[in-house]
Amino acid sequence: MQRALYERYAGAMLVVCMRYCKNKDDAEDILQEAFIKVFKSIQSFKGDSTLGYWVKRVVINTALNYQRGKLYLFPMVDINEIDPKQTQDLTLSNYQMEELLKMIQSLPIGCQVIFNMYAIEGYKHREIAKMLDISEGTSKSQYARARLLLQQMMADADKINYEKYQ
């Protein structure tokens, strides 16, 4: 039963963990800890949501706890230099999932976490601020910085690819 549950969700959850970490080893540690929590607290799952969503919440919370110390080490501050126009024409289909993962992992830890939570998981800035015990403005500014950094990374990647194919 436990093995089946693990095999059902471990692959997807490892991707989630890697989005919140800087390397695969940390991601595997988080995934292991998260699944131990899942198996210990499976009785608390009441069926209010899908099992996959519940497992993902456990994994994300574990990842946040894992990164919480680093978040305190690198305090997030408000950033105002945002140019929304530069992010209008985004095409991600040109990138492999591994490339996108590397870009996200290259972000500063604060930006990485908030970008994941807002852009991919779908949390609102208010929820993120509450979960990470920061202000909503900090969440917004960190997210904006993450977008900017990702845009620069994509531009650099496009340039390299263009030169490669030339």
């Binding site: 490892l14 131990i36 991600l92 999932m97 779908g122």
Partner: protein, 518 residues
């Protein structure tokens, strides 16, 4: 998803994405879950272990308490001093029945005694003896004669005693005469027909002169006083031969030769080194407390010297009287604080301090009672410091011994795992604290013997100990212990000038807790 197109693209980019985790990840998860289950069972077992340990300690304590209670004295009035009438009421005897029929007046007996003893002192002594007997008869037949006669007799007795004290304390000669008069008291079959039946009048007055009788009487009284358990004579006592077992261990050289000449390939048994290497780092210290209920045997043995079977005793008791005594094994319990030090991986030395309380039951038909008359006479003769009278009735005695013991043992560790098994052997110095002898008859007084020159017991005697200590680690550093132990005296507990000897032995099972300092 309230986010815009940008966020939706990122979300879709990772939707359904998977990376196959390595197999070691599941192994780690499985191991963690298993450890968690073990930890859960350990937490649960923790309470059960303590519950079991508490139960064992409680059971041992209850056992010790019940053992002590069952052997404790029911005598609630230790300081009761009773007259002979009370004593005899509680222990009716043939003497009482005879005294009822022998109704004699004091003046008559005095006249008869006067005819028998021409000397004035002897007259007074005879008067004392007669009135004493008469008083006893009056007391014994209380309710038959009434209190008037008893009061009259007591007044006469007091007057006689005062006169006697003023005269008998002057010289040895007087004392001898009084002793002889005392013999008359016992040996006059006509005046004391009631008592002569009991005493049978088998003694010969001419065998001993007065001085000899006093000497014998003094010796007897001292024995009785200093040796409360010797109120009897165990004629049937046997002297068991002791066998000494001599252990002749091989010397290290002999061991080496034996091992070197034994071909190891024959039985496939690996040769053991002749001596184990000393590991000084393994000096583990531990301390523990334990409670041990058990059995105690004073192991009394009668000596060659006759104690109560002396002529003087015969005079008082009559030769038909045969003192007897039986001592059974009793219960014991001890409370111990133990200290141990590991000298090597296999050897340790232990010591500590133990409080022992042992209780045995004795049954005898000769005990010391008390009457005012007898006490006055005896005190006047300076035979005893305290008063007493001989009485003969089956009486149960409760012997309570208390010791402090200091053991020193060497232990060989047979097993040193979570369960530790150690074989111990050594010596123990037992320091005698107190011996309380309490008769079951509430009308008799308890006797307490303390250590000292007047005590028949040595203040310190030594024991050999063999035992086993099994311990189980219930927590880091904490173990519960079970210690069966046999202890036997290697020198006599009694002093050599006694007419009997004692080599106490005890066996018990201790239950306790041990703490390892590491």
């Amino acid at each position: 998803m309230g986010q815009g197109n940008y966020e939706r693209k990122w979300h879709q980019a990772f939707e359904g994405a998977e990376i196959i985790p390595p197999e070691k990840l599941w192994t780690g998860i499985e191991a963690s879950i298993a450890n968690g289950e073990v930890a859960k069972y350990k937490r649960r077992a923790f309470y059960y272990k303590w519950l079991a340990a508490a139960g064992i300690v409680l059971f041992a304590g209850l056992l010790g308490y019940l053992a002590y209670q069952s052997s404790s004295v029911t005598n609630s009035s230790e300081t009761t001093v009773t007259d002979r009438s009370d004593f005899q009421e509680s222990t009716p005897s043939k003497e009482t029945q005879k005294s009822n029929s022998g109704d004699q007046r004091p003046d008559q007996t005095t006249d008869q005694t006067s005819d028998h003893t021409p000397d004035q002192t002897l007259d007074q002594a005879a008067e004392l003896s007669q009135t004493s007997d008469q008083e006893e008869s009056a007391s014994l037949s209380e309710g038959f004669k009434g209190e008037d006669i008893q009061d009259t007799n007591e007044q006469q007795v007091k007057q006689s005693q005062e006169t006697l004290l003023s005269q008998t304390n002057r010289s040895e000669k007087d004392r001898a005469v009084i002793a002889e008069s005392g013999q008359d008291q016992v040996g006059e079959p006509q005046d004391q027909g009631d008592r002569s039946d009991l005493l049978a009048g088998k003694h010969d007055e001419n065998d001993l002169d007065a001085t000899e009788k006093e000497a014998v009487s003094l010796e007897n009284s001292e024995l009785l006083e200093t040796n409360p358990t010797n109120y009897y004579n165990t004629d049937a006592a046997t002297t068991a031969e002791q066998q000494l077992l001599a252990l002749n261990p091989l010397t290290p050289r002999q061991q080496s030769l034996t091992l070197s000449t034994t071909p190891s390939h024959i039985y496939g048994v690996a040769l053991q080194p002749t001596s184990e290497p000393e590991i000084l780092e393994s000096k583990g210290l531990w301390a523990g407390i334990s409670l041990a209920p058990g059995q105690f045997d004073p192991n009394y043995r009668q000596g060659n010297e006759r104690a109560l079977n002396s002529p003087a005793f015969d005079q008082v008791t009559g030769s038909s009287f045969t003192p007897s005594e039986e001592t059974s094994r009793g219960f014991s319990f001890s409370l111990a604080v133990d200290l141990g030090m590991k000298l090597s991986p296999r050897w340790e030395v232990t010591s500590g301090l133990q409080y022992f309380r042992n209780n045995v039951q004795s049954s005898t038909n000769a005990v010391i009672g008390q009457t005012p008359v007898f006490s006055s006479v005896v005190e006047s003769l300076d035979l005893r410091n305290s008063s007493g009278a001989l009485a003969f009735a089956p009486t149960d005695l409760d012997n309570d011994f208390q010791f402090i013991s200091i053991p020193l043992q060497a232990g060989y560790i047979v097993l040193d795992k979570k369960i530790q098994l150690t074989i111990n052997a050594g010596l123990a110095a037992d320091i005698f604290l107190k011996n309380t002898i309490s008769p079951s008859d509430a009308s008799l007084e308890s006797v307490t013997i303390n250590p000292g020159s007047d005590s028949p017991y040595r203040t310190v005697y030594f024991n050999g100990i063999v035992g086993l200590q099994a311990s189980y680690e219930i927590l880091p550093r904490y173990s519960i212990t079970l210690q069966p132990q046999y202890k036997i005296a290697i020198n006599e507990f009694t002093k050599p000038d006694n007419t009997y000897s004692s080599l106490p032995a005890s066996i018990g099972i201790g239950v306790g807790i041990k703490y390892n300092f590491k």
